[in-house]
Amino acid sequence: MVAEGALAAGCRFFAGYPITPASEIYEVMMRELVTRGGLALSAPDEISSLCYCVGASLRGLKAMTATSGPGWALMLETVQYALMTETPVVIALVQRLGPSTGGATQGAQGDIFLAEFSTSGGYTIPVFAPSNAAECYELTQQAFNWSERLRCPVVLLTDKEVGMTTEVVEEAALAKVAPVERTGIGAKAPFAAYEIESAESVPGFAPVGGPVKVTITGSAHDRWGRLRKVSPEVVEMLVHLQRKIEAHAAEMAFVRPDLDPEASSLLVSYGITARAAREAVGVLRKEGFPISFLQVQTLFPVPVEALRRAAAGIRTVFVAEENLTGQYRTVLAPFLMGTRLLGINKVGSMISPGEIVRAIRRAGGTIPRGDWPCTHSLDESIHPDRKAGV
């Protein structure tokens, strides 16, 4: 459904390299793109895959590649190049168990930091995390649209369990998102490839090969794309790369909240674990335990407003994710000061609804609101497989 979403979004170029569990996307794109007027090809490694995509995108084609952790690691140089040159490109990152070659056929949610915090300078890379096939379809379209709108690389983050499970989708219920095209430059010539009109503005795009001369560089540059040592204008460019994304953060903050105004506990999850979390919430509510649930679909930029709304009046926040150290919990912590923040974490297999229910019960989450001291701890991670708990 990632591939279908890409095609629906108008993807015209795909370069891939085989890697479990992302190879299905590669194979579908190789099969389908040629019948829809696009080009898909096999690259000799992941570095080449993303470079080819960036080259094609510089000519105006919507482009995507798909990989897993080991391939993503090789792509980081070019992710940063796309960021610096303001070139739209989508990378579907289908997580598997790491580190290193890890477990190719085992799911994981261990690449949150790797996906987001991988640029020199610490820039925000939009990351969307679907939890099922239908969301893959919708969020891949969003990934393309935001990549085109903001002229930046965007990550579509799934994992083996989302990417390689066959499931029924209702075609009629699939969300069709109107494709967004890059803003052109109109009659401006000569034009500055990296013009800054305002904090939220994104420079107009002119394709390499078109009638207007284009100057592109991954080095520090002025608005004309001329390589420059650090100057006030270069600094303004560097700041704007981040500001243009931040300025649109609220618009791309996709979440699926299921809030209970009586709740003193909030469960936050994303991707494959959000599905178990939703079931767990159903079980707890049947037991008479009021709990709110927030499925985060836009991991980055962090959907701060939605998070604050969900956490209003909440004493204990649980973040369920399939990694060892609570990567997204660490990201959310600064926004949840004053709440008791607990992680439900596991590696090696999916977290089950029962494990989440038991972890929440064990943490004493059923104690009514007001009885907990307002502590904030990142250390109180709950590993469902451990007997001890907190």
Partner: protein
């Protein structure tokens, strides 16, 4: 367009005095002028290093300054895009040094293999100039660099020979001082496909500092390495990848959607999710049989998820399918307990033990085993049937599924008819045979209440 000055007339070249790069940009400009290419039909794709300073010297060309070694890869992407763009005439010219050629060697090899229409100007000055004169994969033997102070002992690559084996169509090696360099560059640019010109030159900043480079030394060095000077053109011209792709694009018909079993009026009788595991041996159609079950379930209004597992070798060892059928949208796709275990081979069963599935079985779990297996399941209601013997090993999994369904109302028989009807004609008989065996066994021996 008249005859544009490609190299800005007043351009102050940013290179060290005597650097070969200055000669190359002038020769490139002359070559472009001779070819009378419209400036916007050329993109100069420059690498990291002093060679990457050329962008600003060509104010009319598109320029893309890339990361180290990736200039060729970005140019490949730009050239390939031309295959599906109406204005396909863009010519990427890559300017890369010996450092970039080393770190980006794979891109050069793939560009030659694909035969993309790009021209690479490979500036070989035998070392990394911009970073202080370090050794590269193209440093000649005995050459002194900042990282080989006693002289280089590693034989340099011959990029032309290497790319010849990668089926490059146009290769040439010249000295930067050659008066014919502009003509060679022009021919390379005009060549329809991958072309590369290696230009031997001296880094006056570092190469000349530590090595004797006056007179004919460069020529002697080239000769010592066995470097051919001149052109190496392929005997036969190959079609570019872009042109091949365009042909493919025109000839490939739109793909027809795979027929699906129609949705039936009769619905499944299932109130709660059901978790089924089918375990067998690779090549015995375990996973495709499980997919048929999911199709049948879909036709009677059920949701399903299917996950497959097998060893990395795929064609050998166990083969597993884990299925969830549910009247509702399935959230959690795993199993906290298993309702039905179907084991049709020892290998498959062993894996169920190893991966913890059997630990999820309960006294209520239905365990369907092939009669040949001498296995004692830890718990559950066990039924043994001769699936392999009656249906053949390749049909055993499907026969076992049909047996199970034949005993209960979860997926009615009409669903199987719908699935069989949606299959290609040549697969139907085989599937029907397996289903018949399973259903017959069920009518004889099944004593399972759903």
């Amino acid at each position: 367009m008249g005859n544009p000055a490609y190299l800005a007339r007043d351009a102050k070249l940013p290179y060290c005095r005597g650097c070969g790069h200055a000669l190359v940009v002038r020769q490139l400009s002359q070559a472009l002028e001779g070819l009378r290419l419209p400036p916007h039909s050329v993109v100069l794709t420059t690498d990291i290093g002093c060679v990457g300073l050329a962008d600003s010297l060509f104010p009319y060309l598109h320029t893309v300054h890339t990361t180290h070694g990736r200039s060729t890869a970005m140019a490949i992407g730009m050239a390939l895009a031309g295959a599906v763009l109406p204005d396909s005439g863009l010519k990427p010219i890559v300017m890369i040094g010996d450092g970039g050629a080393m770190i980006g060697l794979l891109h050069l090899v793939h560009a030659a293999q694909l035969n993309v229409d790009i021209t690479v100007l490979f500036h070989n000055n035998f070392l990394f100039g911009m970073t202080g004169g370090q050794h590269s994969a193209f440093t000649p033997l005995e050459w002194i660099t900042s990282t080989t102070p006693e002289g280089n002992v590693i034989p340099p690559l011959d990029l032309l020979q290497l790319l010849q084996t990668a089926h490059a169509g146009f290769l040439a090696r010249q000295f930067a001082t050659d008066s014919s360099l502009d003509a060679v560059i022009a021919d390379a640019i005009a060549f329809p496909g991958f072309s590369l010109v290696e230009i031997l030159e001296t880094c006056t900043g570092y190469g000349a500092l530590r090595n004797k480079t006056t007179g004919n030394v460069l020529r002697e060095v080239a000769s010592r390495q066995g470097y051919l000077i001149g052109r190496m053109e392929a005997a036969q011209q190959r079609t570019t990848f872009g042109a091949l792709y365009r042909q493919e694009l025109q000839s490939r018909p739109a793909r027809k959607a795979r027929p699906q079993a129609p949705e039936l009026a009769v619905k499944a009788d299932l109130a709660d999710p059901l978790h089924i595991v089918i375990a067998g041996t690779a090549g015995e159609r375990v996973q495709s049989s499980a997919a048929l079950l999911c199709s049948a379930a879909l036709s009677v209004g059920l949701h399903s998820t299917q996950k497959n597992d097998n060893p990395v070798t795929q064609g050998t060892g166990f083969s597993l399918s884990e299925i969830c059928l549910s009247p509702r949208l399935i959230e959690y796709t795993g199993m906290e307990s298993v309702d039905v275990v179907i084991g049709v081979s020892q290998e498959g069963w062993n894996e169920l033990q190893a991966n913890g599935t059997l630990a999820k079985s309960t006294p209520k779990t239905l365990v369907l085993l092939d009669a040949e297996l001498e296995i004692t399941p830890p718990t559950g209601r066990v039924l043994r049937q001769p699936f392999r013997r009656e249906a053949t090993p390749k049909r055993a999994a499907l026969a076992a599924i049909a047996f199970w369904l034949g005993m209960g109302p979860v997926v009615p028989k009409a669903a199987w008819d719908a699935v069989v009807g949606s299959l290609p004609v040549d697969r139907r008989e085989d599937v029907l045979t397996a289903l018949r065996v399973g259903q017959n066994l069920a009518s004889q021996g099944g004593t399972y209440a759903a």
